[in-house]
């Protein structure tokens, strides 16, 4: 019995070592393609190739659509240290706005979830605030708060905080009522009901809100820079466009895109590492 098993194992090893180097077998290619990054990456490369070829073939002027190679050239117009300065300026505002939004929305969400009175009186007000187009208010905020980080952080906060309040409140109310009764039957203090039951239960909801908000925070920072700034990627794009230096504006856009993706992944990773149980079960 064990001898048979040994033989079959060594056979498998043999075929594996002899066949693979000569011609990659079907399963290997299939596996490679099924890796989550490979297919989107291939698609992306294909788009770049078509883009590059198309712009050259039809001689599209770079102010309409610069070729990827020209955009790459746009990165070199500005020194690396200047890029870092721009990135840091935008990133700083985005992160401060994001953190401010978390800090402010948590107590609001707790209030909305715990008190019928608050949810009746405060929630409609929040909807009204949310409905105000932030882009239109931005110049006013700049005038009121001056020209340093503060107004930009506030603008970012205004764009970011509503999805957070909604997702946190929904999450805090998603706790099974039995657990709340268990808490009451133990005569535990309310803050422990929140910290030990409601908040952990809200984690998946909170993270879906955080993922939306982190992307919005970059948008907020850029909008603020459009209105008033002398640094930052948003400012750089606007400045470049006004000088008709489109390839370099596109380079700025690429930087923003990467920044958003990295921030989003950072939030996802935080959830994966700190709260693995809060992820939806993988379907097989």
């Amino acid at each position: 019995m064990s001898a048979e098993a040994d033989i079959s194992v060594s056979e498998q090893k043999d075929t594996a070592t002899t066949k693979v180097p000569v011609a990659p077998s079907e399963p290997f290619m299939e596996k490679l393609i099924r890796l989550p990054v490979v297919l989107p990456l291939l698609t992306f490369v294909l788009i770049l190739v078509v883009w590059e070829a198309g712009t050259r073939l039809f001689a599209v002027p770079s102010y309409i659509l610069p070729a990827p190679s020209r955009i790459l050239g746009g990165f070199e117009v500005v020194s690396l240290s200047r890029w870092v300065e721009h990135v840091w300026s935008t990133l700083r505002v985005a992160l401060m706005g994001f953190v401010l939004a978390i800090v402010v929305s948590l107590p609001i969400a707790v209030g909305l979830a715990k008190s019928r009175f608050l949810s009746r009186s405060l929630y409609p007000l929040l909807v009204v605030i949310q409905s105000v187009p932030v882009v239109a208010v931005a110049p006013i905020i700049i005038v009121v708060l001056g020209t340093d980080d503060a107004p930009r952080v506030v603008i970012t906060f205004m764009i970011t905080f509503f999805p957070l309040v909604v997702s946190m409140t929904t999450g805090l109310m998603a706790t099974p009522p039995e657990l709340i009764e268990l808490s009451r039957s133990l005569r535990a203090p309310v803050w422990r009901e929140i910290s030990q039951i409601r908040l952990p239960y809200a984690t998946p909801y909170i993270f879906s809100g955080l993922k939306i908000s982190i992307t919005l925070s970059v948008i907020g920072a850029v909008v603020a820079e459009f209105v008033a700034a002398e640094k930052g990627i948003g400012y750089f794009i606007q400045f470049s466009t006004s000088m008709f230096k489109l390839p370099q504006a596109w380079a700025g856009l690429v930087v923003l895109l990467v920044m958003s993706l990295v921030l989003f992944q950072a939030v996802s990773l935080t959830q994966k590492i700190l709260f693995p149980w809060s992820l939806p079960k993988e379907r097989k």
Partner: protein, 257 residues
């Protein structure tokens, strides 16, 4: 003088709802002796859970009185444990952390003794070896064992169980019933056990209380004519078949009327 563990006198509950007052329970008279096992049968919506929540001190009766060990219930007490229909465990906490949760939640910290005590209860509930597992990794029956272990953690004298096995498949449900009897015999407690199942009520309880449609009131309060210990064959006698038939008749008659 023997004192009742739980007693309802003319107890009733009327909820205020958006569509006007709703009387869930009315004029309930019932007493349960210490260490007695009482099953409550009744159609859905007749106020069984309400009865249990009044006993737990989670809601106050709007008429009459509910007393536990001779004292009117005004707030939740430490000597009452609750088991819900769904185990409702904390999905992020291990089996052991779920069982010590009452200590952590009530006092804010967990001592070594708490952990030892929890492991002991976990073993009694047939969960030894599963201490570090998460609820999501357990079957429904196992999860409900954790739910029971959690209710037993503060060593309550009274155990309130609200259809605790009705979410389980038939075989697991029977097994859990006998498991509960074993626990109850090893460490006697006053049990108020709500169920939809006549055989379950009869095999477990000393006494079966039948409730009417809403507004719920007690329409029958019968001693189960069955000695202990009981097993699968206990219900086969003609006497038991007749007893269960009688209970079925009470429940159906009330439905038709």
């Amino acid at each position: 003088m023997t004192q009742d563990a739980i007693s309802f006198s003319e107890a009733g509950q009327t909820f205020r709802t958006d569509s006007g007052p709703l009387t869930a329970l009315s004029g309930v008279d019932l007493s349960i002796a210490r260490h007695e096992f009482v099953a409550v049968l009744g159609p859905s919506g007749c106020g069984k859970s309400t009865l249990l929540r009044m006993t737990a001190g989670l809601i106050k009766p709007t008429e009459g009185m509910v007393s536990v060990f001779g004292l009117p219930v005004t707030e939740p007490r430490d000597d009452i444990g609750i088991v819900f229909q769904q185990a409702t465990l904390l999905p992020w906490a291990s089996v052991e952390d779920n069982v010590v949760f009452p200590a952590k939640h009530k006092r804010g910290r967990v001592s070594r003794q708490d952990r030892d005590h929890a492991r002991q209860i976990i073993a009694t509930c047939g969960l030894a070896g599963f201490e570090k597992r998460l609820p999501g990794e357990l079957s429904g029956g196992m999860q409900q064992r954790v739910g029971i272990a959690r209710a037993l953690f503060l060593n309550p004298d009274i155990l309130l169980m609200d259809e605790p096995f009705s979410a389980l498949d038939a075989l697991t449900r029977d097994a859990m019933g006998f498991e509960l009897l074993r626990l109850w015999q090893a460490s006697p407690k006053t049990v108020l056990f709500i169920t939809h199942s006549i055989p379950e009520a009869v095999i477990l309880a000393d006494r079966v209380v039948v409730m009417s449609e809403r507004p719920g009131r007690v329409i029958a309060n019968l001693k189960v004519p069955l000695s202990r210990p009981r097993d699968e064959s206990s219900l086969r006698s003609t006497e038991m078949q007749e007893f269960m038939g009688h209970l079925r008749g009470l429940l159906i008659k009330d439905k038709v009327a």
